[in-house]
Symmetry: C2
Subunit: 302 residues, 2 copies
């Protein structure tokens, strides 16, 4: 047993600047939207549906709408009362499915009680399913066909490819097996040629598995789950978690699923919270909307 640290005590991981990357990506999308309009006479349009008055959801959809507008696309918000019935919601989705001005449709989750999120999500035409949460896009991702990929895992993948390039043969460990992040990201990393391990609530020794990771992705929603000694020296760490905590002085701050101050002394590269994965999600939603518009208009993804 050695107590020496793997790096000099002043080692500091490279910070992965998701905020900057997302800003560049949004600028690029804005340019591409203009070019697309010049070539095809079509402006991509995104419809966002919010049912009920969840305050956090209201903030999210507002940000999505504003950034869509900033990217030069058309942004349509449908804010419906909590009393909306499932047939009413499905009828709206059907109308948007058939509306040629709409290329992307997103239903903000969670939905109020009484509305079946799975049935609602699957009602979105797969070509317009820019959240990538419907059965057909999930299936196409699972069997390596082109698909609309859920935005957060897509954002993680873009950061990783930018940092690491070819990832073939790297061991990626994903902690968290959700349909929204963990599982689609595991499938994306597998498609990149990574060896992939997936850990979750039932995993017996998550730390031991994490320590094998060249690429460690943490998406559990359990704040500060991953300590410095869970990380292989030099590994790339992607922290998807984001929890607001109240400090003793009454102020609040955002923390991730990784103990940042410990991890930064061991990892090679790491995403901060905030400013890491978070800003990538909406940027990838815009990217998916442009991809959907291109597919619907030209039949080709690029």
């Amino acid at each position: 047993m050695s107590t020496s640290t793997p790096f000099p005590s002043d080692h500091h991981a490279t910070l992965i600047d998701g905020k900057g990357f997302a800003a560049d990506l949004r600028a690029k999308i804005r340019e591409d939207v203009r070019t697309f309009h010049d070539e095809h006479g079509v402006t991509p349009g995104l419809a966002v549906i919010l049912v009920g008055n969840d305050p956090a959801s209201e903030v999210y959809v507002r940000n999505k709408a504003i950034q869509t507008h900033h990217a030069g696309m058309r942004s349509f918000m449908h804010m419906l009362p909590e009393t909306t019935s499932e047939p009413e919601l499905l009828a709206l989705i059907e109308r948007l499915n058939n509306d040629p001005e709409i290329h992307g449709i997103l239903v903000q989750l969670p939905l109020p009680n009484g509305l079946d999120a799975r049935r609602v999500t699957n009602a979105i035409r797969p070509e317009k399913d820019v959240d990538g949460l419907g059965e057909i896009n999930a299936g196409r991702l699972a069997i390596d066909l082109p698909s609309l990929v859920p935005c957060t895992p897509l954002g993680c993948l873009m950061l990783l490819k930018d940092q690491l390039g070819d990832m073939r043969g790297q061991h990626a460990v994903v902690i968290g097996a959700s349909n929204l992040v963990g599982k689609p990201l595991a499938l994306l990393l597998l498609a990149e040629g990574c060896t992939v391990s997936i850990a979750h609530i039932h995993t017996r020794d998550t730390a031991a598995l994490a320590r094998q990771a060249d690429i460690l992705v943490v998406a559990t929603g359990v704040r500060e789950l991953v300590h410095g000694d869970w990380i292989k020296p030099g590994a790339t760490v992607i922290d998807v978690g984001i929890t607001r905590v109240t400090l003793e002085n009454g102020k609040t701050k955002l923390v991730g699923d990784v103990v940042f101050d410990e991890a930064v002394k061991v990892a090679g590269r790491i995403t901060p919270v905030p400013g890491g994965v978070g800003p990538m999600t909406i940027a990838c939603l815009l990217k998916n909307t442009l991809t959907a518009a291109r597919l619907l208009v030209t039949g080709k993804p690029e």
Copy 2:
């Protein structure tokens, strides 16, 4: 470093009798088919389509047809010439999609050149896609919804559940990441609560990963890839591979992806080749056909 073996030199793993299990399963399905007919007046029907004259495929479809018939179901074989065009094949599938006497449709792969296997597979109505290879069933499996699961991984899972019961927290390592076996089985094991690792051609140290497995599944098609020292003492080993090799005396025999004589001295339980996973595939096809019939007739899976 110790050179002692983990078990006494006369240790011999328990053999997992897939042949016996499949026979029992087929007998059970035969009973269930009769009960289903008594209750609903419907006999499940499976249509198998073969295009071209590949000799191995001819044997496979013949065996599928005979076992379907033995299970008390209706079995329909459609053997088409190699010159069949894709529109002709799609028209046949469409007719079977709409035929109320047909509850399962299977297109034997591989297809002759010029026919797009993906397009053909996706043309099968998801409710009748008893091979589970279409986008919608792949997607439903990926997001933990009830689905028709590909037959070989379903067979592996049934054997594992029979041997091990609750698998939560066990580390399952799947070697081979195909759409047909490795990936769907990884998703099934994840849904059972296993920690899951997937290795493949790009994995750097497959042996080191395999040695961590409580459950080791090998589905690579590389004969005798996995040696005894890849296996953790006491692990459960599922060998999906099956390759016919010619011996020096000119006779042939079937070997798996695991060096059986070595593995049997280390593993706790192991499937032999032949007689392990192989017989489960057709039995699970029959099971899926009955499931499809039940869903189509009653709207409920059980």
